[in-house]
Each structure stands twice: as C-alpha cells, then as structure tokens.
C-alpha cells in the first residue's frame, strides 16, 4: 500500500510540471497539489494546512514569460509527503514541511532553468528532422521535452520518497527551536514577495484606491476573501461597462461628429 502511495506521489510530481505548462488543470499550485497528495496519502486535512501555507507564499509568484520562480508546488508536495510520513501532529507537520519544502522549492528554480536549457538542442534536432522530411521523428523529439520537464520535479521528489524519513527526523531533532520558529515566521512573511510583484505589475498609480478598499475590507471589517472578490467584481464590472460605453461614444463622435445617443459620459 505504502509503495503504491510512494509511486503515485512521484507520478504526481512528474505530471505536476507538465500540467502547469500545458493544460493547467491540476497545476502546480500548492493547494491543489497538496489536496491530491493528501488524497493519495490518506490525510487530506494535514495536506490542506501545508498546501494552504505554501499557497499563500506562492500567491503572485507566477512564472510569466518563461521566467523561473520558486516551485512552491514541489515544496508543498515534498512537504506534505515528509510531514504525513514522519510526524503525528499538525504543528510538527508544518515545521517539517517548511524545513524541507522551502529549500526544495528554491532548488526548483535551478531545475527549471536546467530544463529550459536542455530542451534547446531538442528543438534544433526536431527542426533538422523537419527539413529532412522525417516528420514522425520530429514530433517524437519534441515530445522528449515534456518528459525532461517532468523529470526536473520527479527526481527530487523521488529522492525524498526514498531517503526522506531519516533526513527529516534528523533535521527536526538537530535544529534548534528558534530555527524552526524562524521558518514559520518566514512562512508568514514570504507572501509579501508575491504581493509586491503583483502590485508592481498592476496600474497601481491609477487605481490605488481599489487596493485601499480591499485593505480596509479585510483589515478593519474582517471581510472574508470571497466577499472582497465580489466587491472587486462589482467595481470592475461597472468600470468595464462605463469604459466600453465611453470608447464607443468617442469613436462614434470621431466617425460622424454628431448623434451622441447617450450623453452621460464624463470625459
């Protein structure tokens, strides 16, 4: 039974990165990966707590435009695995998951870069096959690339599945309390990175007030996230309708220089 679980965890690690770069259904986002891992290991509750912790760190840290970012999905997967297998309670599980997951997630950056370098000769080879008219070989060569990417996450996971238990028990026994506490604190602080990146990608100068609205709703009114998302959706919908109407009016005016049907736009 536990061997089947181990194999499934490694398969999940292999699939995770391929899904993230393709269909984006199970993705490598920590909560979803953790949920599937928890299902495999038969402890969804612990898995969700760990997945939620890593998900908060991962918010906003997206690999846009081919950039490499910490693989928090891999962090969550390895974290959930070692936590469920080596610890008996949620507090220890979280400490173990953070102690193992954070460095593994950071290692994910290097592995991703390595993958994207190794696929380069594959593309050249495939193009050569195309020129030679060997189209089947061309497609088979291209298919090696996802296999390569799958291995970048499957191999580190496999190492933890095979050698993980002694490493983690050792880590938890040897590491001082302030160190594991520090990692928990880092877990609480690190989401700031994603949020900082998100804000810098948004038209913040123009729309600062919506950031403040969201902040007030959560900090002062203690509104749950879904409620804030609904406020955001309402405001965004209103903006969209007004903007489309305004654009339409502008272009109608530009084309015919007359006939403003509804004149209640204010630009």
């Amino acid at each position: 039974m536990s061997i089947i679980q181990d194999v499934l965890i490694i398969v999940l690690a292999f699939w995770m990165v391929i899904d993230q770069q393709g269909p984006v259904i199970t993705t490598w986002f920590p909560v979803i990966v953790a949920m599937i891992a928890g299902f495999i290991l038969g402890d969804i509750q612990t898995a969700m707590v760990i997945g939620g912790t890593f998900q908060l760190m991962a918010l906003g840290v997206a690999n846009i435009g081919g950039s490499s970012v910490p693989n928090y999905g891999l962090a969550a997967l390895v974290g959930v695995y070692v936590a469920v297998r080596t610890t008996g309670n949620i507090v220890d599980a979280k400490a173990a998951a953070l102690a193992v997951g954070v460095p593994v997630g950071m290692l994910g950056i290097q592995l991703d870069v390595l993958g994207k370098i190794l696929t380069n000769p594959l593309a050249h080879k495939a193009q050569q096959y195309a020129r030679d008219g060997q189209y089947k070989r061309m497609n088979r060569t291209i298919l090696l690339a996802p296999v390569l990417f799958g291995l970048t996450t499957a191999i580190p996971t496999a190492l933890f599945v095979i050698f993980g238990k002694p490493i983690v028990t050792f880590i938890l026994e040897v590491l001082p309390k302030w160190f594991t506490n520090g990692l928990s604190i880092a877990g609480g602080i690190l989401p700031v990175v994603g949020i900082g990146i998100l804000i810098s990608m948004m038209p913040i100068q123009k729309h600062l007030m919506y950031l403040i609205i969201g902040f007030v709703a959560a900090a002062y009114l203690k509104m749950p996230m879904m409620g804030v998302a609904l406020i955001g959706a309402a405001v965004a919908y209103n903006f969209f309708v007004q903007k489309v109407a305004a654009d339409k009016n502008v272009s109608t005016v530009g084309a015919t220089e007359a006939n403003i049907e509804d004149g209640d736009f204010d630009e």
Binding site: I117, L183, G232, Y237, V244
Partner: protein, 272 residues
C-alpha cells in the same frame, strides 16, 4: 462572409484535435532560444500536413516558419494559432509571411491581457480563497479552483475554434474591448490584493513594554491601535519598491526575507 468560397482542408474535428494538442503542449517544449516554437510545431503539424497534402515543399517551409520564436500566454496563443491556421488553410503557402507577422505582432499585446487574467487574476482570487480554507484543513476551496481550471480549459479550446472561424477579424474587433477588460480585471485584482495584505502576511511582535506595573504589548496595544496590520502594510510597500527597482532578483529577495525571519526569531523579536 465571403471567405467560404475558398477551398478548406480542415474539418471541425481537425480543429478541435489541433486545439487539444496545443492545450497539452503549450510551454512543455519551452526553450530559451525559440521559446514555445517547438510546441507550436508539434501542435499544428498534423493539421498543416492535411493542408499541404500534396505540397511537400509547402509543408516543409510552413514547419520552418513555425520553428521561429514564439511566446505568449496559452489561451491568447489559442486565438492567434487558430487564426493563422485558418489563413494557411485558405491561402496555403502564400499566407506564410502574413502568418509570421500576425504571430509576432499579436503575441506581445495578447500576452499582456492573457497574463493578467490567467496568471494573476484567477490564481490570486481562487488561490487565496483555497489557501484560507486549506489552512483550516478544508479542501473545498481547492476543489472549486480545480473546477474553475476545467472550465478555463474548455474555454481555451473554444478560443482556438473562434480564432479559426473568424481568422484575423476577431482579434482586431476585440481590440478596444480587450483593453477595457484588462483594466477592469486589474481593478478586481487590486481589490483582492489589498485584502491579501492584512489577511495573508503575518507578523507578530513578541516584545512587551513594562512601565511600572503595567505591561504593554507592542503589537496589541500600540501597533494595532494605530492601524491593524500596520507592519504587513509597511513591509509590502518596502518589498514593492525593491521589486520596482529591479535591482534584486526575486529569489534574492526571498532568501533575504528568510534570513531576516531567522534573525528576528533568534532574538525573539517576532514570534510565529
């Protein structure tokens, strides 16, 4: 539409199959030099073979054309690739230069829209909801997100079909509305991000203040009285400024914050 008189080689089934191939491949053959190009070739090769059935040279030059640099958000690429496939289906080899310029012309602007919606908005909204429920040990939020992803996946296949059905027209028609949509989406995003700051970032000062008999907790009695989540808000601003300057890589910022947490933990200034 007067395009119908031209001979077409692809059936609806071919289009759907090509769309599926693209959804599964997207960035899975990514490399630093030509980026998604090999994935594009893999996805379109079967359909192109059908278009250039008796034209070996045309097929080869088409593949060569698609081996050129290409990179944009998956769903946006669905629209572009659907449209270019329609062009090659109608015009054959003649369309190849236009295909190349359409691809390079649209991948930039559509990546901006696509990234905002598919990599920022959806993961931020559903990710934070799922994370919150997750911290309570509840998988409901994660399941909702999974269902949303399935819906988006089906939608992406539809986008490919739209792209094929309307060729280049759709993209230009949507142009002005897409901008308004992106801006509206970022408004929603900013509202959610504003709420994320106090609910996601946790910083607890362990320090207390003793004056005579009264002990004051710095966190509870001073900071929280000024503004709830003051420290997270300040830290967000600092990190935002660092990110803006582009001087430190993201992973350096992360390492710095981990070090910062360990130091503060060691001296007992912050508690978990």
């Amino acid at each position: 539409m007067s395009n119908e008189q031209q001979e077409k080689h692809l059936t609806k089934k071919d289009i759907r199959r090509t769309a599926l191939r693209w959804q599964f491949m997207t960035s899975n053959a990514y490399n630093y030099e030509s980026q998604q190009a090999a994935g594009v070739v893999f996805s379109l090769s079967k359909a192109l073979r059908k278009i250039y059935k008796d034209d070996e040279a045309g097929y080869k030059s088409s593949l060569d054309n698609h081996f050129k640099f290409f990179n944009t958000t998956g769903p946006a690429a669905s629209l572009i690739l659907g449209a270019t496939l329609a062009m090659e289906d109608r015009e054959g080899k003649k369309a190849q230069p236009a295909v190349q310029s359409l691809k390079t012309g649209l991948m930039g602007p559509l990546a901006g829209v696509g990234d905002t919606i598919f990599w920022v908005l959806i993961p931020t909204v559903f990710g934070s909801i799922a994370a919150y429920m997750g911290l309570q040990g509840n998988p409901t939020g994660a399941i909702i997100w999974l269902l949303v992803n399935i819906a988006v996946f089906l939608f992406r296949i539809k986008i490919f079909e739209w792209g094929y059905a309307t060729g280049t027209r759709l993209v230009t028609d949507l142009g002005s509305k897409l901008n308004a949509f992106t801006e509206a989406a970022s408004i929603m995003g900013l509202t959610v991000i504003g709420a994320l700051i106090p609910s996601v970032i946790k910083m607890n000062l362990a320090t207390t203040f003793a004056t005579g008999k009264v002990t004051m907790s710095v966190q509870k009695d001073i900071l929280d009285a000024i503004m709830p989540s003051l420290l997270p808000a300040v830290l967000t601003y600092i990190v935002y400024r660092i990110v803006r300057t582009n001087k430190l890589s993201i992973s350096k910022i992360i390492w710095l914050l981990i070090g910062f947490s360990l130091v503060l933990s060691y001296f007992g200034i912050l508690k978990p």
